[in-house]
Symmetry: C2
């Protein structure tokens, strides 16, 4: 990493906080990642663990303007406190922003991780160039976020973009949310694995059968086997794409949005899943809406949350 | 009608244009309807027929500032031309705004009728007091419109709010749009009648059976019989409400919107349909989103489009 580019003014810290890990990126003002640190959460207070990494990066970079943190929870847009979280160290509820700001002396912006990733893709990923964008993350869970006129649109209570709980089959399986047939019940990574197991048990002959004798397979394994030409794995990926496409059609019909960016681990299947998503969305959405929408894979990979959080910190300053 | 209140300055004309009729309202600056004219389209050019009614109302009102027209079609937000219409006299495509403006010497605003009705409800109906609102009209067809931050949000190509084509049953009936299982295939007025006929044929004993011997019944008949205590009619209305509620849940999940206003002829069933809509939406939406949403019946009845069009003309002037 060239020290010259780091040592200029106007850098930001982006933090991607999850239940087990802390990913920290030093991000230039244009969204470029200059350095990365990743560490397992060690039980210490997250704000202190983060502050020490920030200090380490600060020793490299002449100037850090602000810190942005993407968290697996909801942030109250008024108080900036964490109000709901699924997988965040509970000790951090409510005070992460203040504590980290006190420890570092820097302004700290806190945002839901899907919202942060959406903003990252919008500023410097495959959302770039659009004004209105819907972002979907498909991984352990399914989330979404909306950008309208270049700004996150959070909704009445900060929950806008709950893509994973769109009903795609009124008589489908029960969801943790209480509804039946939510997209998440079939298309999150664990549910792709569950569906694949169920179907393998019934009628499958697949390289996954062999794999499952040794260890549990993952959604990534299914995607890899599909890429390697396993028909059964391909079928499961395509079906999943069709489910996602059905929900994407609702977004297209309701929002007539310019661009839809799909990210998260499930999208690592690449065109094998993107193509059926686009096909099903085309089949199920109102044609003039569909024709006005670009559906693309996300571009920032695992950096999306950190970059987006850093850019939110940058743009919060400018307001 | 008090001539005093009419003869003040700052009135607007709102026009609700459909395939067969022309409804024209003289609307005060605060959204109050001062006079109404309704006429059957007589084959003459719509702009001339409208202009002569405008002239008639102008003779009453000292000052008319502008005209707004709600049409059953899509208006290109850039060129203000009608680009798609379903049920508009074809002679009017593309030139209604210019012609009517030439004939009357007044500024003319043209807008899709669902968008106009949404704006009417937002300014002076049951959407009043919200900042972000979703409007649904349930009648011969099903439409929708979005208001964000007090303004119509039209989407990338003017189609935002296509509520009727949300998939609520992936294996459902074919829709004219090409998709299967759109809300419109079960919950528009003609489809409520179709479903009721089908079910009456199979197993119904209802006052509707008697009625159908004399003439075809309508969705309004079904609603009336439900209000009069007919169990079968009530069942059909409740089922319809559940279908609508499923689609409402998608709006709630995606937009986390403050208020949802439901209008159109189908809503004349009142609480008999509103209650199951709210119940099903509650069951199928993410709870924190649902709790932040008020779901209400529209308040302006048949005046919604004309009032909204007049208010759009008023507010277009202010920009």
């Amino acid at each position: 990493m060239a020290n010259n580019s780091i040592a200029q003014s106007g850098n930001y810290i982006g933090v991607d906080l999850s239940a087990q890990t802390l990913r920290v990126a030093l991000v230039a003002g244009d969204g470029q990642v200059l350095e990365r640190r990743e560490t397992v959460l060690d039980g210490e207070i997250v704000s202190r663990q983060t502050a020490s990494i920030v200090q380490e990066l600060r020793d490299h970079a002449a100037s850090i303007e602000a810190i942005g943190i993407g968290i697996p929870g909801l942030v109250n847009p008024q108080t900036h406190e964490v109000v709901i979280s699924s997988g965040m160290p509970s000790a951090e509820h409510g005070n992460l922003q203040v504590e980290l700001s006190n420890l570092t002396g820097l302004p700290v912006a806190l945002e839901n991780d899907a919202n942060a990733a959406a903003y990252g893709e919008y500023i410097t990923g495959t959302g770039r160039g659009s004004r209105n964008m819907f972002y979907v993350t498909l991984g352990q869970g399914i989330g979404g976020a909306i950008i309208l006129g270049g700004k996150l649109w959070l909704g009445a209570s900060g929950f806008a973009g709950e893509f994973g709980h769109i009903t795609i089959d009124p008589d489908g399986a029960e969801c943790v949310c209480g509804n039946t047939g939510c997209l998440e019940t079939v298309a999150s990574a664990p549910n792709i694995v569950r569906r694949t197991h169920e179907r393998l048990f019934r009628d499958g002959t697949s390289s996954l059968s062999k794999l499952s004798m040794n260890r549990d397979f993952t959604a990534a394994d299914i995607a890899r086997e599909a890429r390697n030409g396993d028909d059964f794995a391909l079928l499961m990926i395509e079906r999943t794409g069709r489910y996602i496409g059905t929900a994407v059609a609702s977004v297209i019909n309701l929002l007539n949005i310019e661009r839809i960016v799909l990210g998260g681990g499930v999208m690592e299947a690449g065109d094998l899943i993107l193509d059926p998503i686009i096909r099903e969305a085309g089949r199920r959405s109102f044609q003039p809406c569909f024709e006005a929408t670009q559906i693309v894979a996300a571009g920032l990979g695992a950096d999306a949350v950190a970059i987006g959080a850093a850019m939110l910190a940058r743009d919060a300053e400018q307001i």
